[in-house]
Protein backbone atom coordinates (compact mmCIF):
# COMPACT_ATOMS: atom_id res chain seq x y z
CA UNK A 1 0.00 0.00 0.00
CA UNK A 2 1.43 3.33 -1.07
CA UNK A 3 0.73 6.72 0.47
CA UNK A 4 0.91 9.64 -1.92
CA UNK A 5 1.23 13.23 -0.80
CA UNK A 6 -0.63 16.15 -2.34
CA UNK A 7 0.41 19.67 -1.44
CA UNK A 8 -2.70 21.86 -1.74
CA UNK A 9 -1.39 24.67 0.46
CA UNK A 10 -2.46 28.10 -0.71
CA UNK A 11 -5.05 26.65 -3.08
CA UNK A 12 -8.67 27.72 -2.83
CA UNK A 13 -11.66 25.65 -3.82
CA UNK A 14 -12.21 23.99 -6.23
CA UNK A 15 -8.51 23.25 -6.72
CA UNK A 16 -7.88 20.89 -3.73
CA UNK A 17 -10.73 18.64 -4.92
CA UNK A 18 -9.81 18.95 -8.61
CA UNK A 19 -6.23 17.90 -7.87
CA UNK A 20 -7.26 15.14 -5.44
CA UNK A 21 -9.62 13.69 -8.04
CA UNK A 22 -6.79 13.48 -10.61
CA UNK A 23 -4.61 11.62 -8.12
CA UNK A 24 -7.36 9.28 -6.93
CA UNK A 25 -8.30 8.37 -10.49
CA UNK A 26 -4.70 7.30 -11.14
CA UNK A 27 -4.30 5.28 -7.92
CA UNK A 28 -4.73 1.55 -7.22
CA UNK A 29 -7.36 0.29 -4.74
CA UNK A 30 -6.00 0.41 -1.19
CA UNK A 31 -3.57 3.22 -1.93
CA UNK A 32 -3.85 6.34 0.17
CA UNK A 33 -3.61 10.05 -0.60
CA UNK A 34 -2.70 12.59 2.06
CA UNK A 35 -3.71 16.13 1.12
CA UNK A 36 -2.34 19.14 2.98
CA UNK A 37 -4.56 22.20 2.47
CA UNK A 38 -4.81 25.66 3.99
CA UNK A 39 -8.40 26.43 2.96
CA UNK A 40 -10.68 25.74 5.97
CA UNK A 41 -13.53 25.11 3.52
CA UNK A 42 -11.69 21.99 2.37
CA UNK A 43 -12.83 20.15 5.53
CA UNK A 44 -16.53 19.99 4.65
CA UNK A 45 -15.76 19.87 0.91
CA UNK A 46 -13.83 16.59 1.21
CA UNK A 47 -16.58 15.20 3.46
CA UNK A 48 -19.14 16.09 0.78
CA UNK A 49 -17.08 14.93 -2.15
CA UNK A 50 -16.54 11.39 -0.80
CA UNK A 51 -20.32 11.06 -0.48
CA UNK A 52 -20.63 11.79 -4.22
CA UNK A 53 -17.72 9.82 -5.63
CA UNK A 54 -17.49 6.08 -5.22
CA UNK A 55 -13.73 5.79 -5.65
CA UNK A 56 -12.44 7.14 -2.36
CA UNK A 57 -13.25 7.07 1.34
CA UNK A 58 -12.15 9.62 3.89
CA UNK A 59 -9.99 7.84 6.50
CA UNK A 60 -8.96 10.79 8.62
CA UNK A 61 -9.08 14.57 8.89
CA UNK A 62 -6.87 16.51 11.25
CA UNK A 63 -5.72 20.06 11.84
CA UNK A 64 -2.10 21.08 12.40
CA UNK A 65 -0.10 24.28 12.27
CA UNK A 66 3.02 24.95 10.27
CA UNK A 67 6.08 26.73 11.72
CA UNK A 68 4.56 30.15 10.92
CA UNK A 69 1.39 29.33 12.85
CA UNK A 70 -0.68 28.89 9.70
CA UNK A 71 -3.51 26.36 10.04
CA UNK A 72 -3.13 23.22 7.94
CA UNK A 73 -6.06 20.92 7.15
CA UNK A 74 -4.90 17.40 6.43
CA UNK A 75 -7.19 14.91 4.72
CA UNK A 76 -6.36 11.20 4.28
CA UNK A 77 -8.23 9.48 1.46
CA UNK A 78 -8.13 5.83 0.46
CA UNK A 79 -8.81 4.59 -3.05
CA UNK A 80 -11.60 1.98 -3.19
CA UNK A 81 -12.45 -0.67 -5.81
CA UNK A 82 -15.13 1.68 -7.19
Amino acid sequence: MAVRQLDARGLKCPMPIVKAKKEIDAMAPGDQLEITATDPGSVTDFQGWVKTNKRAVLKEQRQEQDETGRDLYIHLLERTDG
Binding site: M15, I17, G48
Partner: protein, 397 residues
Protein backbone atom coordinates in the same frame (compact mmCIF):
# COMPACT_ATOMS: atom_id res chain seq x y z
CA UNK B 1 -11.36 20.20 -15.53
CA UNK B 2 -8.56 22.18 -14.02
CA UNK B 3 -8.67 24.41 -17.10
CA UNK B 4 -12.00 25.78 -15.96
CA UNK B 5 -11.77 28.70 -13.63
CA UNK B 6 -8.10 29.20 -14.31
CA UNK B 7 -8.79 31.85 -16.96
CA UNK B 8 -9.90 34.57 -14.59
CA UNK B 9 -12.19 37.06 -16.28
CA UNK B 10 -13.19 34.70 -19.09
CA UNK B 11 -16.43 33.79 -17.34
CA UNK B 12 -19.08 36.53 -17.08
CA UNK B 13 -19.53 37.69 -13.49
CA UNK B 14 -21.95 39.70 -11.38
CA UNK B 15 -21.17 41.61 -8.19
CA UNK B 16 -23.11 40.81 -5.03
CA UNK B 17 -24.58 44.34 -4.91
CA UNK B 18 -26.02 44.07 -8.43
CA UNK B 19 -27.31 40.59 -7.70
CA UNK B 20 -29.12 41.74 -4.53
CA UNK B 21 -30.55 44.79 -6.28
CA UNK B 22 -31.97 42.62 -9.09
CA UNK B 23 -33.30 40.00 -6.70
CA UNK B 24 -34.83 42.63 -4.35
CA UNK B 25 -36.74 44.02 -7.36
CA UNK B 26 -38.06 40.55 -8.15
CA UNK B 27 -35.99 39.97 -11.30
CA UNK B 28 -36.45 36.23 -11.97
CA UNK B 29 -32.95 34.93 -11.38
CA UNK B 30 -32.07 31.29 -10.99
CA UNK B 31 -29.45 30.91 -8.28
CA UNK B 32 -27.27 27.83 -8.62
CA UNK B 33 -25.66 27.32 -5.22
CA UNK B 34 -22.69 24.96 -5.60
CA UNK B 35 -21.53 24.89 -1.96
CA UNK B 36 -21.61 21.72 0.08
CA UNK B 37 -24.68 20.80 2.13
CA UNK B 38 -23.27 21.93 5.51
CA UNK B 39 -22.38 25.37 4.22
CA UNK B 40 -25.79 25.78 2.59
CA UNK B 41 -27.57 24.78 5.79
CA UNK B 42 -25.52 27.23 7.86
CA UNK B 43 -25.94 30.32 5.71
CA UNK B 44 -27.93 31.30 2.63
CA UNK B 45 -28.00 34.32 0.36
CA UNK B 46 -31.28 36.17 0.86
CA UNK B 47 -33.02 39.01 -0.93
CA UNK B 48 -36.22 40.92 -0.15
CA UNK B 49 -38.05 38.58 -2.51
CA UNK B 50 -37.39 34.84 -2.58
CA UNK B 51 -34.77 33.71 -5.11
CA UNK B 52 -35.44 30.43 -6.91
CA UNK B 53 -32.43 28.30 -6.01
CA UNK B 54 -31.02 25.01 -7.26
CA UNK B 55 -28.44 23.22 -5.09
CA UNK B 56 -25.79 21.11 -6.86
CA UNK B 57 -22.40 20.92 -5.07
CA UNK B 58 -19.42 21.83 -7.25
CA UNK B 59 -17.80 18.45 -6.66
CA UNK B 60 -20.83 16.86 -8.37
CA UNK B 61 -19.88 18.90 -11.44
CA UNK B 62 -16.32 17.57 -11.13
CA UNK B 63 -17.57 13.98 -10.86
CA UNK B 64 -20.37 14.09 -13.41
CA UNK B 65 -20.31 17.19 -15.57
CA UNK B 66 -23.13 16.37 -18.05
CA UNK B 67 -25.40 14.96 -15.32
CA UNK B 68 -24.90 18.04 -13.16
CA UNK B 69 -25.34 20.50 -16.04
CA UNK B 70 -28.65 18.75 -16.82
CA UNK B 71 -29.92 19.66 -13.35
CA UNK B 72 -29.90 23.36 -14.31
CA UNK B 73 -33.21 24.32 -15.98
CA UNK B 74 -32.73 25.80 -19.47
CA UNK B 75 -33.59 29.31 -20.58
CA UNK B 76 -33.03 31.00 -17.23
CA UNK B 77 -30.88 33.90 -16.04
CA UNK B 78 -28.46 31.72 -14.07
CA UNK B 79 -26.08 33.05 -11.42
CA UNK B 80 -23.67 30.62 -9.76
CA UNK B 81 -22.68 31.00 -6.11
CA UNK B 82 -20.08 29.30 -3.91
CA UNK B 83 -18.13 30.15 -0.77
CA UNK B 84 -15.37 32.30 -2.30
CA UNK B 85 -16.15 32.54 -6.01
CA UNK B 86 -13.64 29.99 -7.33
CA UNK B 87 -15.77 26.88 -7.63
CA UNK B 88 -18.72 28.86 -8.97
CA UNK B 89 -16.45 30.31 -11.67
CA UNK B 90 -15.46 26.79 -12.68
CA UNK B 91 -19.11 25.69 -12.79
CA UNK B 92 -20.18 28.80 -14.73
CA UNK B 93 -17.45 27.92 -17.25
CA UNK B 94 -18.76 24.35 -17.57
CA UNK B 95 -22.29 25.66 -18.10
CA UNK B 96 -21.09 28.10 -20.76
CA UNK B 97 -19.34 25.26 -22.59
CA UNK B 98 -22.58 23.28 -22.50
CA UNK B 99 -24.42 26.26 -24.01
CA UNK B 100 -26.07 27.40 -20.77
CA UNK B 101 -25.31 31.08 -20.18
CA UNK B 102 -24.44 31.70 -16.54
CA UNK B 103 -22.74 34.39 -14.48
CA UNK B 104 -20.40 33.84 -11.57
CA UNK B 105 -21.20 35.67 -8.32
CA UNK B 106 -17.87 37.42 -7.80
CA UNK B 107 -16.33 36.61 -4.43
CA UNK B 108 -19.16 34.25 -3.41
CA UNK B 109 -20.53 34.18 0.12
CA UNK B 110 -17.43 35.92 1.47
CA UNK B 111 -18.25 38.94 -0.71
CA UNK B 112 -21.91 38.66 0.36
CA UNK B 113 -20.81 38.74 4.01
CA UNK B 114 -18.77 41.91 3.42
CA UNK B 115 -21.09 43.81 1.09
CA UNK B 116 -22.36 47.13 2.48
CA UNK B 117 -25.53 48.71 1.07
CA UNK B 118 -26.29 52.31 2.07
CA UNK B 119 -29.85 53.68 2.02
CA UNK B 120 -31.10 57.11 3.08
CA UNK B 121 -33.62 57.03 5.93
CA UNK B 122 -36.69 59.02 4.78
CA UNK B 123 -36.96 62.07 7.03
CA UNK B 124 -39.90 64.30 7.81
CA UNK B 125 -40.65 67.67 6.23
CA UNK B 126 -38.32 70.31 7.61
CA UNK B 127 -35.80 67.66 8.64
CA UNK B 128 -34.28 66.64 5.33
CA UNK B 129 -33.06 70.19 4.73
CA UNK B 130 -31.22 70.12 8.06
CA UNK B 131 -29.77 66.65 8.30
CA UNK B 132 -29.47 63.17 6.80
CA UNK B 133 -29.28 59.66 8.18
CA UNK B 134 -27.94 56.81 6.10
CA UNK B 135 -28.46 53.26 7.22
CA UNK B 136 -25.61 51.05 6.01
CA UNK B 137 -26.82 47.49 5.68
CA UNK B 138 -24.38 44.60 5.81
CA UNK B 139 -26.83 42.29 4.08
CA UNK B 140 -24.98 39.02 4.59
CA UNK B 141 -24.77 39.50 8.35
CA UNK B 142 -27.89 41.51 9.15
CA UNK B 143 -25.74 44.26 10.74
CA UNK B 144 -26.59 47.95 10.44
CA UNK B 145 -24.32 51.00 10.76
CA UNK B 146 -25.34 54.64 10.56
CA UNK B 147 -23.97 57.84 9.08
CA UNK B 148 -25.63 60.85 10.71
CA UNK B 149 -24.82 64.10 8.92
CA UNK B 150 -25.59 67.78 9.15
CA UNK B 151 -24.01 70.85 7.63
CA UNK B 152 -20.89 69.12 6.31
CA UNK B 153 -20.19 67.10 9.47
CA UNK B 154 -20.96 63.49 10.27
CA UNK B 155 -20.81 60.99 13.10
CA UNK B 156 -20.61 57.28 12.38
CA UNK B 157 -22.48 54.90 14.67
CA UNK B 158 -21.60 51.19 14.95
CA UNK B 159 -19.12 51.27 12.06
CA UNK B 160 -18.28 47.87 10.67
CA UNK B 161 -14.73 46.71 10.20
CA UNK B 162 -14.40 48.02 6.63
CA UNK B 163 -13.46 51.46 7.97
CA UNK B 164 -12.13 52.68 4.59
CA UNK B 165 -15.65 52.27 3.20
CA UNK B 166 -17.06 54.73 5.76
CA UNK B 167 -14.26 57.18 5.15
CA UNK B 168 -14.89 57.06 1.39
CA UNK B 169 -18.67 57.31 1.82
CA UNK B 170 -18.31 60.49 3.88
CA UNK B 171 -15.67 61.97 1.55
CA UNK B 172 -17.88 61.42 -1.53
CA UNK B 173 -20.59 63.49 0.13
CA UNK B 174 -18.26 66.20 1.34
CA UNK B 175 -18.75 65.19 4.97
CA UNK B 176 -16.12 65.52 7.67
CA UNK B 177 -16.39 62.74 10.24
CA UNK B 178 -16.09 64.39 13.66
CA UNK B 179 -16.71 61.43 15.96
CA UNK B 180 -17.13 57.69 15.89
CA UNK B 181 -19.65 56.05 18.24
CA UNK B 182 -20.42 52.47 19.17
CA UNK B 183 -23.66 51.61 20.98
CA UNK B 184 -21.86 48.80 22.82
CA UNK B 185 -19.00 46.33 22.54
CA UNK B 186 -20.19 44.00 19.79
CA UNK B 187 -19.88 40.25 20.20
CA UNK B 188 -20.92 39.11 16.74
CA UNK B 189 -18.77 41.24 14.46
CA UNK B 190 -15.55 43.24 14.62
CA UNK B 191 -16.19 46.95 15.03
CA UNK B 192 -14.58 49.42 12.66
CA UNK B 193 -15.02 52.19 15.24
CA UNK B 194 -11.59 52.25 16.91
CA UNK B 195 -9.72 51.86 13.60
CA UNK B 196 -11.80 54.57 11.92
CA UNK B 197 -11.27 57.00 14.79
CA UNK B 198 -7.51 56.36 14.71
CA UNK B 199 -7.32 56.83 10.93
CA UNK B 200 -9.12 60.15 11.17
CA UNK B 201 -7.78 61.34 14.52
CA UNK B 202 -11.28 61.88 15.92
CA UNK B 203 -12.76 60.71 19.25
CA UNK B 204 -14.13 57.19 19.62
CA UNK B 205 -16.88 56.74 22.18
CA UNK B 206 -18.41 53.67 23.74
CA UNK B 207 -19.80 53.47 27.26
CA UNK B 208 -17.35 52.89 30.08
CA UNK B 209 -20.24 51.03 31.71
CA UNK B 210 -19.49 47.98 29.59
CA UNK B 211 -17.27 46.85 32.44
CA UNK B 212 -14.45 45.92 30.12
CA UNK B 213 -10.88 47.08 30.16
CA UNK B 214 -10.60 48.81 26.80
CA UNK B 215 -7.13 49.28 25.42
CA UNK B 216 -8.00 51.98 22.92
CA UNK B 217 -8.61 55.55 24.13
CA UNK B 218 -12.27 56.27 24.62
CA UNK B 219 -13.96 59.67 24.89
CA UNK B 220 -16.49 59.18 27.70
CA UNK B 221 -20.13 60.16 27.23
CA UNK B 222 -22.63 60.91 29.97
CA UNK B 223 -26.28 60.01 30.02
CA UNK B 224 -28.23 62.94 28.61
CA UNK B 225 -25.18 64.53 27.05
CA UNK B 226 -25.86 66.25 23.75
CA UNK B 227 -23.45 65.95 20.83
CA UNK B 228 -23.69 68.58 18.12
CA UNK B 229 -23.22 67.72 14.47
CA UNK B 230 -22.84 70.55 12.00
CA UNK B 231 -20.89 73.02 14.09
CA UNK B 232 -21.65 74.90 17.26
CA UNK B 233 -23.50 77.71 15.49
CA UNK B 234 -26.13 77.88 12.81
CA UNK B 235 -27.80 74.70 11.66
CA UNK B 236 -26.79 71.99 14.07
CA UNK B 237 -28.17 68.57 14.76
CA UNK B 238 -28.49 67.32 18.30
CA UNK B 239 -27.61 63.74 19.13
CA UNK B 240 -28.65 62.92 22.67
CA UNK B 241 -26.84 60.15 24.55
CA UNK B 242 -29.19 57.76 26.35
CA UNK B 243 -27.98 54.98 28.61
CA UNK B 244 -30.05 51.91 27.75
CA UNK B 245 -28.40 49.03 29.63
CA UNK B 246 -29.50 45.40 29.37
CA UNK B 247 -28.15 43.79 26.21
CA UNK B 248 -24.86 44.82 27.78
CA UNK B 249 -24.46 46.87 30.98
CA UNK B 250 -23.13 49.86 29.05
CA UNK B 251 -25.44 49.75 26.05
CA UNK B 252 -26.14 53.26 24.84
CA UNK B 253 -28.73 54.60 22.39
CA UNK B 254 -28.44 57.83 20.43
CA UNK B 255 -31.51 60.01 19.86
CA UNK B 256 -31.02 62.00 16.65
CA UNK B 257 -33.01 65.20 16.18
CA UNK B 258 -35.41 64.10 18.91
CA UNK B 259 -37.11 61.62 16.55
CA UNK B 260 -34.68 58.92 15.43
CA UNK B 261 -33.43 56.46 18.02
CA UNK B 262 -30.32 54.49 17.16
CA UNK B 263 -30.87 51.63 19.58
CA UNK B 264 -27.91 49.36 18.93
CA UNK B 265 -28.96 45.94 20.21
CA UNK B 266 -31.46 47.26 22.79
CA UNK B 267 -34.61 47.17 20.66
CA UNK B 268 -34.96 45.56 17.24
CA UNK B 269 -37.86 45.77 14.81
CA UNK B 270 -39.09 42.31 15.81
CA UNK B 271 -37.46 41.57 19.16
CA UNK B 272 -35.13 42.98 21.80
CA UNK B 273 -31.42 42.38 22.32
CA UNK B 274 -30.53 39.18 24.14
CA UNK B 275 -29.33 39.94 27.68
CA UNK B 276 -27.65 36.55 28.20
CA UNK B 277 -24.27 37.05 26.52
CA UNK B 278 -22.49 38.05 29.72
CA UNK B 279 -23.73 34.98 31.59
CA UNK B 280 -25.94 37.11 33.88
CA UNK B 281 -29.30 36.70 32.19
CA UNK B 282 -31.37 37.51 35.31
CA UNK B 283 -29.41 40.61 36.31
CA UNK B 284 -29.01 41.98 32.78
CA UNK B 285 -32.58 40.93 31.93
CA UNK B 286 -33.87 43.10 34.79
CA UNK B 287 -31.72 45.98 33.57
CA UNK B 288 -33.14 45.55 30.07
CA UNK B 289 -36.71 45.48 31.38
CA UNK B 290 -36.10 48.73 33.27
CA UNK B 291 -34.62 50.26 30.13
CA UNK B 292 -37.58 49.23 27.99
CA UNK B 293 -40.29 50.23 30.48
CA UNK B 294 -38.73 53.25 32.20
CA UNK B 295 -35.87 54.76 30.21
CA UNK B 296 -37.66 54.61 26.85
CA UNK B 297 -41.07 55.53 28.34
CA UNK B 298 -40.75 59.31 27.79
CA UNK B 299 -40.19 58.80 24.05
CA UNK B 300 -43.26 59.24 21.88
CA UNK B 301 -44.80 56.60 19.64
CA UNK B 302 -43.66 58.53 16.55
CA UNK B 303 -39.96 58.01 17.36
CA UNK B 304 -38.35 55.84 14.67
CA UNK B 305 -36.24 52.98 16.01
CA UNK B 306 -33.14 52.33 13.91
CA UNK B 307 -31.46 49.18 15.27
CA UNK B 308 -27.97 47.70 14.80
CA UNK B 309 -29.30 44.34 13.59
CA UNK B 310 -32.18 42.60 11.92
CA UNK B 311 -33.15 38.97 11.90
CA UNK B 312 -34.39 38.46 8.34
CA UNK B 313 -34.84 40.18 4.99
CA UNK B 314 -38.59 40.50 5.63
CA UNK B 315 -37.67 43.30 8.06
CA UNK B 316 -36.29 45.45 5.22
CA UNK B 317 -39.07 47.82 4.13
CA UNK B 318 -39.94 49.15 0.66
CA UNK B 319 -37.45 52.01 1.10
CA UNK B 320 -34.71 49.45 1.73
CA UNK B 321 -34.62 50.44 5.41
CA UNK B 322 -34.91 48.43 8.62
CA UNK B 323 -36.87 50.66 11.00
CA UNK B 324 -40.00 50.74 13.12
CA UNK B 325 -42.04 53.42 14.88
CA UNK B 326 -41.76 52.98 18.64
CA UNK B 327 -45.58 52.93 18.83
CA UNK B 328 -45.76 50.00 16.42
CA UNK B 329 -43.02 48.13 18.24
CA UNK B 330 -44.74 48.73 21.58
CA UNK B 331 -47.78 46.94 20.15
CA UNK B 332 -46.09 44.16 18.19
CA UNK B 333 -42.73 43.12 19.69
CA UNK B 334 -43.46 40.12 21.95
CA UNK B 335 -40.87 41.11 24.58
CA UNK B 336 -42.42 44.58 24.92
CA UNK B 337 -45.77 43.10 26.04
CA UNK B 338 -44.63 41.93 29.48
CA UNK B 339 -45.92 43.93 32.45
CA UNK B 340 -43.53 42.63 35.12
CA UNK B 341 -39.79 42.12 35.24
CA UNK B 342 -40.31 38.52 36.39
CA UNK B 343 -42.35 37.62 33.32
CA UNK B 344 -39.86 39.36 31.05
CA UNK B 345 -36.86 37.63 32.61
CA UNK B 346 -38.59 34.23 32.45
CA UNK B 347 -39.17 34.78 28.73
CA UNK B 348 -35.61 35.83 27.87
CA UNK B 349 -34.23 33.00 30.02
CA UNK B 350 -36.29 30.49 28.10
CA UNK B 351 -34.83 31.84 24.86
CA UNK B 352 -31.17 31.59 25.92
CA UNK B 353 -29.16 30.05 23.14
CA UNK B 354 -25.52 29.56 22.22
CA UNK B 355 -23.49 32.76 21.94
CA UNK B 356 -22.42 33.84 18.45
CA UNK B 357 -19.59 31.77 16.98
CA UNK B 358 -16.13 33.08 17.92
CA UNK B 359 -17.69 35.76 20.15
CA UNK B 360 -14.88 35.59 22.72
CA UNK B 361 -12.25 36.30 20.02
CA UNK B 362 -14.39 39.06 18.48
CA UNK B 363 -14.89 40.81 21.83
CA UNK B 364 -11.12 40.72 22.47
CA UNK B 365 -10.45 42.44 19.15
CA UNK B 366 -13.18 45.01 19.83
CA UNK B 367 -11.59 45.80 23.18
CA UNK B 368 -8.22 46.30 21.55
CA UNK B 369 -6.79 43.37 23.53
CA UNK B 370 -5.83 41.45 20.43
CA UNK B 371 -5.74 41.84 16.68
CA UNK B 372 -6.25 39.39 13.87
CA UNK B 373 -5.62 39.29 10.13
CA UNK B 374 -8.63 40.14 7.94
CA UNK B 375 -9.08 36.62 6.58
CA UNK B 376 -9.32 35.27 10.13
CA UNK B 377 -11.89 37.93 11.03
CA UNK B 378 -13.86 37.04 7.91
CA UNK B 379 -13.90 33.43 9.08
CA UNK B 380 -15.09 34.42 12.59
CA UNK B 381 -17.86 36.58 11.22
CA UNK B 382 -19.27 34.07 8.71
CA UNK B 383 -23.00 33.58 8.99
CA UNK B 384 -25.91 35.57 10.28
CA UNK B 385 -26.00 37.53 13.54
CA UNK B 386 -27.65 35.89 16.58
CA UNK B 387 -28.35 38.97 18.64
CA UNK B 388 -32.12 38.89 19.18
CA UNK B 389 -33.66 37.51 22.36
CA UNK B 390 -36.64 35.74 20.91
CA UNK B 391 -36.45 32.08 19.94
CA UNK B 392 -38.75 32.68 16.98
CA UNK B 393 -36.36 35.20 15.53
CA UNK B 394 -33.38 33.03 16.28
CA UNK B 395 -34.89 30.29 14.14
CA UNK B 396 -34.85 32.68 11.17
CA UNK B 397 -31.12 33.22 11.57
Amino acid sequence: MAEHGSGAGSVPAIDVGDLLQAADRGHPLLLLDVRNEDEVRAWKLEARRPIETVYVPYFDFIEDEPGSVAKVPPGRDVVVLCAQGGSSEMVAGMLAEAGVPARNVRGGMVAYGEYLQPAAVPLGPGESSRFAIWQVNRRGKGCLSYVVASNGEAVIVDAMKNEEWFEAFAAQRGLRIIRVLDTHIHADHVSGGPALSQRLGVPYSVSAGEGFDLRQPVAPLDDGQVLRVGGERGVTLEVRVMRTPGHTPGSTSYLVGGRYLLTGDTVFVGSVGRPDLGGHVVEWGRMLFATLTERLAPLGDEVLVLPAHYAGVQEIDENGIVAGRLGNLRRTVPELQFRTADEFVASVRAAVKDPPASYAEIIKVNLGLSSAPLDRITEWELGKNECAASARRAALG
